[in-house]
Symmetry: C2
Subunit: 404 residues, 2 copies
Amino acid sequence: MIKVNIEGTLNFIDESELRGTGTARDFNMSADTGWVNLPKSTENLAEIKEVAGKIRGESEALVVIGIGGSYLGARAAIEFIKNTPDSTDIYFAGNNVSGEYLKWIIDRIGSRDFSVNVVSKSGSTIETAIALRFFKELLLTRYGQAGLKRRLYITTDAGSPLYEMAAREGYRCLEMPPGVGGRYSVLTAVGLLPCAVAGIDIDEMMLGAREEMETGRDNAALYASSRQALYREGKKIEILASFEPVFKSMGEWWKQLFGESEGKAGRGIFPAYADYTADLHSLGQYIQEGERTLIETFVTFDRPRVELDIPGGPIHDDKIGALAGLDLGEINRAASEAVKKAHIDGGVPVIELHAPGLTAASFGALVYFFQRSCAISATISGVYPFDQPGVEAYKKNLYAILGL
Amino acid sequence: MIKVNIEGTLNFIDESELRGTGTARDFNMSADTGWVNLPKSTENLAEIKEVAGKIRGESEALVVIGIGGSYLGARAAIEFIKNTPDSTDIYFAGNNVSGEYLKWIIDRIGSRDFSVNVVSKSGSTIETAIALRFFKELLLTRYGQAGLKRRLYITTDAGSPLYEMAAREGYRCLEMPPGVGGRYSVLTAVGLLPCAVAGIDIDEMMLGAREEMETGRDNAALYASSRQALYREGKKIEILASFEPVFKSMGEWWKQLFGESEGKAGRGIFPAYADYTADLHSLGQYIQEGERTLIETFVTFDRPRVELDIPGGPIHDDKIGALAGLDLGEINRAASEAVKKAHIDGGVPVIELHAPGLTAASFGALVYFFQRSCAISATISGVYPFDQPGVEAYKKNLYAILGL
């Protein structure tokens, strides 16, 4: 279960404000809340594992083509849970239009066998369509028509243009369940297939999400209502911060989740991510003494995955002799305490989130916790959490410029 | 030369405001402006190249130990200019206290020969000191006492604790020039030694900086004064955005430069970075319709380093047939125009910066442009650009908790 500690916000808001406006309140169920019960609907996991087994059996690399909610969750999970590459490497393409980036991926695959998973809910995203053209060529050149058919996997909504292409051309297609938006889709085939190919135990991930679903409602509401209470007090930017570098891509996933759900109607807390202690030496000055419009939310973990003791001995002629023998995790915990105190003293309210560890179950729990919190938070703020009307504006201009 | 276009801000500010408060104004010279003339003082480049040649001659990997200004610039340069690894790989350690991250670097080095460059202006940063202990052990175990002496290189201020350690224990030491703060140090040995080891032409980089120094003052002042005019109009967050993924680490460097220089006295524009088009599918909604407190600054380039044409032909049964044969760079340019128009229409002022290309000279020019702009901007804002008093608060707490 994800624990929430809001002690570090109580100089800035009154607890009664939380009870009044948030804790008991929930978001409205709608046609877009298919994600709520995903941890209970595990019948499609068998198909995902079967497909993953097939990919692992014949490929050393998987190229996942997708942008936004179609890749951020899978990338976050793989980095958080696995860190080091598996026997099957995962590359994320189609999340930009850079030739340099595309060439880099193709070079990295080299002569290894590979498969491709195209992920697009709408099935019509331009970045995805462009990258798909390049990788279709590559599959065809290397494996012929039959190999292209066998090695290209589609994840999309039933009835989308990609879905129809899969039917026409004979690619294996994993359907997205209805009522699950892109940024809420990491616990569907969108996130789970790349995870399973990377060797992650997706059953464990779903169990973690399910346990959070069953026990975490009050904690999610507390996080949501405290950040909204702070927003009403003029705190406009939330910095999510972790001391584990493997959490960084989850920070990017979190930025989409909250930014896209809440940033509308001229409202919304601006989401930023900080990677500590690194960013204490870059953003630290601003956080300590810049505009007092910040909220800082720490994510900490029971224990690091790797324990390393600081070396001692006579060759170390420096000022930190007292630290010899301490595990780096202890230094990180001390740094976390030190930062918290400094920033609260400097006028920054601090929310603390605590997760069990850097495991698949913990990742599943964090995903569910943040998704639920976000839906509650947007609802408190008075905006609908599950649409993104503003994303269309640039797409329309782009189609017009390109004559599509 | 870096070009600046502020047309996209003129719905939001009046040009007369720029003339009145910024364009002609400059920052005050002080004891901390040693960086101003760095592009003209190239006599130390020979020593840097000599040391780099020595490292390249006996190592396949270089571990750069440093945090904040002691690694962000070098990382940005190597990613921007080289992208793909050189025969000598560069790893950045000591920018966090994660055992997992440290182990990852040690695993990546594997059995390859390596050298270490410790970078710390003050010579007393705790993250740096901890990482140094690990790598000293590793060097000693693998190469013995003589190898440790030969393979450990120090970059620091004359007289610092690290400087004294180098003298006592016999390591080669590169001195930082006086009057250059950490975030202003990429054009000293701090950034130039790792760059030279990575195979970058540092003469070309300094020439680019020098040309910018001689010709770019008005442009830097225009960028500085327009962002400050927007800040006075209530724009509190600046999103630097690029369509080239290799610019991402430069975005991190920029965040430190501006955040640490301007974020003080309860003031400062909050610096954020966006990687397009990826982040249009995550932060795009917020930028289009969230709180109207944003400034967006695009960095574009003459032409991409890699040109790839979109494949055509009958196997591509999709909706983007009209794009076949177009280079990806053209799509990126169209996306840039589409985004600019959408965001201005949505109420976000857009500043455009244009750099020649993804080359060493262009990197040097951008560095000088941003450093000069930042100094001018902070001065307009009424804060001293070259200190960072707020970074000390967490350090003091950390020393206290650890009993140092």
